[in-house]
Symmetry: C2
Subunit: 553 residues, 2 copies
């Protein structure tokens, strides 16, 4: 079982150090500390275990070290920054694992960009050696890339020429969409196994600058100084940087979790696996009514504050289901609690959104909900009396492929919108889930937000907020049949269908990475030319040569 | 060998009839007239042969019947409009054929929407019986959908529940992006094998209206009348409808073509296959200098007018290479002729763009160039002395993955922009190819258009219009090595790479269909759950049940 919990004292592959406003994240992969057997992590190549640490480090930077303004990614090994995802690991992994591995690493790189965009931390890739494949894709997720000019070190995406697969962590999309490298140059670069060195790499826009070995460290230091000075100037005017507690951060303590073979019980999140029927029940308990309403008190609560703790638990549950429970095809989402308590909480969060911690919490909630949107499992929201699908928790229903709301005249059953449905928790395509739902009628999303009231079953159905509203006589049968039907369908067809229906409207670099690039990569990961007995990925490093079927499809 | 040439007198599956401003395109598929063996086209199901006729009919409508303002798509069979792509055909086809089949049918549906958007013909799907799968996807490519209310007829997308694949012709994307069906309803509809009938289908936005059997024909006729009356009103003010020759159209005569085992020679397009080396040379001869400059003369020339004839030939050559030459992985594009002749032609086309025929020609040129963008082969433009990569033909170089321009001080070698590079020939993503190339520097595309001059090798290289400019000593070796290297790479990885690098910037419904939906479908078309010995597609109609591996990926 793969465990996503870690913390800096347990890191095997990264060193995280701090110096005032600067954090340095140094890669020194322990080649024997692999997540599975059968490969060694040479040359700072990585497996999922290495990336789980990276994701944790980025998350902790945001909560535990909000004062940090510049993050330097570099390597402690000579002449190599990072050789990318380990090829032998990929070659020996199942298709499903490869896909999930790429998805998680993509989310980690998007988290870097989310931090840069929303929290203003600037990421600098200090490439003290070659960055190839996923190594360069990690660099290109940073804001700035500097490459040592030592006559040898290069940046490269050798996947197509060497392995017959794509750079799977957003590289192709970021080349043309983020760094806006000319498409013909991107074509040349992506088919050039040895990549490009300093001068040409800079000319083509693949890196921002190159420095000779003797001046590399001081040049990076000089650039970091510029970044932090500019940040300090901005900070003097920033409500963020002046909000209380900014310089102390909030500690992310280990999640408490009890698990049995069929259950996974956190404090606010509960997962029950119905393995034979291939679905899981995931219930999220809403906040209590006595939550603090001031920033000071919230910071004192720290990671025990409901939105942070509950969403950390949800995040962990989603990752667990993705990677460790592949046969679970459907997740039934429920909530428990009081609408008013969620609405009161959302009001606090909205009112304090300028406070650094509240801001980070909201950004994190948004990332977790996006993780749900991008999970290759069906989601049904089951809205029953005693539930609290309001505001931030209403997003769970809106993110679901369908929602069922129990219509029993004898029991109150309501849902409600809050300010947080208006833009604080956007999808990867930049829309809110309400905008996405009412793409045929954009005014409707606005009206529903203005109503500031709760919706009973009839009103919710009328407003189009739920898919079905069976009465209490039909409820059990209808839900049971929907579950049975869903879990009987081809899991592959469902994954492709959901990836198409969930993202109506605009596309962004993120959705292009998850929807276009990933889908092509998944296709290629199935093709004999990559993974067949004589495929390029299978044959990498072997004395035999790959045998390709040259038919173009 | 699959032949894309046809004409109404040869149609086996469609009847095309005219009544004033109205064309009726009626489907009556001959079940025995299949393109391959092993299946029967029951229930108006289709194979590529049926779609080649449909594509031809739509193309002819635009050129031969410009006066038509409403096109009714219907069926001559009782109780069935169209059952979609033939499942046994799909089940027995190679992966490559399935993919190419879906791409062509997608292009045909996009051509319907292109006609509606740009030429104002309104397409009405008159569903006199059930439209399932590709049948409903054909309907959803139309502007309006009417379904008979006979107690039986339904619209449906049964691919996911019955076949374990996706609706492969844009259906999922058009559901949520074109008809803006609520995503949870789209989810229910797309997993419901039997689909939805009149009232609910209308309520959910899947159709525009439903009429009882007894009133179906007259209701369609009434709606057609509304459409043509509105069109006539608009026509009185339209320069299009008042341009000379509008009511007579231009006849599309059969393309003349000589072919040998290794060559394909049209009048202006020449294809030479280097099968052992897996690449083709495609040379396009530019226009002569004595082309007409008035609309009357152009209409007199009809389909012998260079832009129409040359692009029809290019279109046919591309389709041929795609479907009949799968091992050809690279196409080297050359042109022959005088820059000035192309520029003079482009000037005429730009000046007369309000004339109906010139407008149709420009829209067609744009579609052919988009067909090139979407072809799963690499393209290298080879720009040598004697070539004429100017204006519309410069688009060939801009559409290529790379371009090589020969730098020989003793021979003049130039390229040039024209007005037609400024927006008349857009890519599927809505950008011009110059905008796409200079996505890092949008002003540059503008400046290059304003310069209105030709670029010699140095200027072209300086401006970033070409990838490489080898001198005459290196030319032969460099081109040869580039060809050898390209054709040695994994064809699957190249397809995925090109699909990512060619489309920087915005996405549209079209690019979502080709880039996101198609990639997922291709993946699913490889998965054992669909095409394995016990997969759902393989097992359809057999007494055995499909056996699915329920692991979610």
């Amino acid at each position: 079982m793969i465990n996503f919990h870690t913390s800096p004292d347990k890191y095997k592959h990264w060193k995280l150090s701090f110096d005032g406003l600067v954090a340095t994240l140094s890669m020194e992969v322990e080649e024997d500390q692999t997540l599975a057997e059968g490969y060694k992590l040479k040359l700072n190549s990585y497996d999922l275990g290495v990336d789980i640490e990276l994701a944790d480090a980025i998350q902790r930077l945001r909560f535990e070290h909000p004062e940090v303004r510049a993050v330097v990614l570099t390597s402690l090994k000579p002449r190599i920054f990072c050789a990318g995802a380990n090829i032998y690991m990929l070659g020996t992994s199942s298709h499903a694992f490869k896909v999930n591995f790429c998805k998680f690493t993509n989310e980690t790189r998007c988290a870097i960009e989310d931090d840069s965009l929303h929290s203003g931390r600037r990421y600098l890739a200090a490439l003290n050696g070659t960055a190839s494949g996923g190594g360069y894709e990690l660099a290109i997720a940073c804001d700035e890339i500097y490459l040592v000019d030592d006559g040898n070190s290069a940046v490269s995406l050798p996947e197509v020429p060497l392995l017959g697969v794509l750079p799977g962590t957003g590289g192709l999309t970021r080349l043309v969409d983020k760094r806006k490298v000319r498409r013909d140059r991107a074509d040349v670069f992506s088919t050039l196994a040895e990549g490009l060195k300093g001068k040409r790499a800079k000319e083509w826009g693949l890196i921002d600058d190159t420095f000779p070995t003797s001046k590399f460290e001081q040049s990076i230091a000089a650039r970091v100084k510029e970044v932090t000075q500019a940040a300090s100037l901005r900070a003097s005017e920033s409500t963020q940087a002046n909000s209380p507690g900014y310089n102390s951060g909030v500690k992310l303590t280990p999640l408490q979790l009890e698990s049995t073979e069929d259950t996974r019980t956190y404090k606010y999140v509960n997962v029950k696996l119905n393995r034979e029927k291939r679905y899981a029940d995931l219930t999220m308990r809403g906040p209590d009514s006595d939550l603090p309403t001031t920033a000071d008190e919230i910071q004192k609560l720290g990671d025990a504050y409901w939105p942070l703790q509950a969403y950390r638990e949800l995040d962990d549950a989603l990752l667990h289901l993705r990677v460790n429970e592949p046969e679970i095809g459907l997740v039934c989402l429920r909530t428990e609690g009081k609408l008013d308590d969620v609405l009161a909480l959302d009001k606090t969060l909205a009112a304090l959104h300028d406070h650094w911690l509240v801001r980070e919490i909201l950004l994190y909630m948004a990332r977790v909900l996006r993780r749900l949107d991008l999970t290759a499992k069906s989601f049904f929201a089951l809205i029953e009396p005693g539930s609290c699908f309001a505001g931030n928790l209403l997003e769970l229903a809106l993110a679901s492929d369908r929602s069922y709301m129990l219509n029993n005249p004898d029991e109150s059953n309501e849902i409600a919108t809050s300010q947080l449905n208006a833009g604080a928790l956007p999808m990867s395509n930049g829309l809110t889930r309400l905008q996405s739902r009412y793409i045929s009628d954009p005014d409707r999303a606005e009206t529903l937000l203005k109503s500031e009231s709760s919706f009973d079953v009839e009103a919710a159905d009328e407003a189009g907020l739920v898919t079905f509203a069976p009465d209490d006589l039909d409820w059990e049968d209808e839900v049971r049949m929907a579950i049975e039907e869903r879990t009987s369908l081809s899991p592959d067809a469902l994954t492709g269908m959901e990836a198409s229906l969930r993202f109506a409207g605009p596309e962004t670099m993120d959705t292009k990475i998850y929807g276009r690039l990933t889908a092509w990569q998944n296709w290629i990961f199935q093709r004999p030319n990559a993974v067949g007995p004589q495929g390029a990925l299978t044959n990498y490093g072997k004395p035999t040569q790959a045998q390709l079927d040259y038919k173009r499809t």
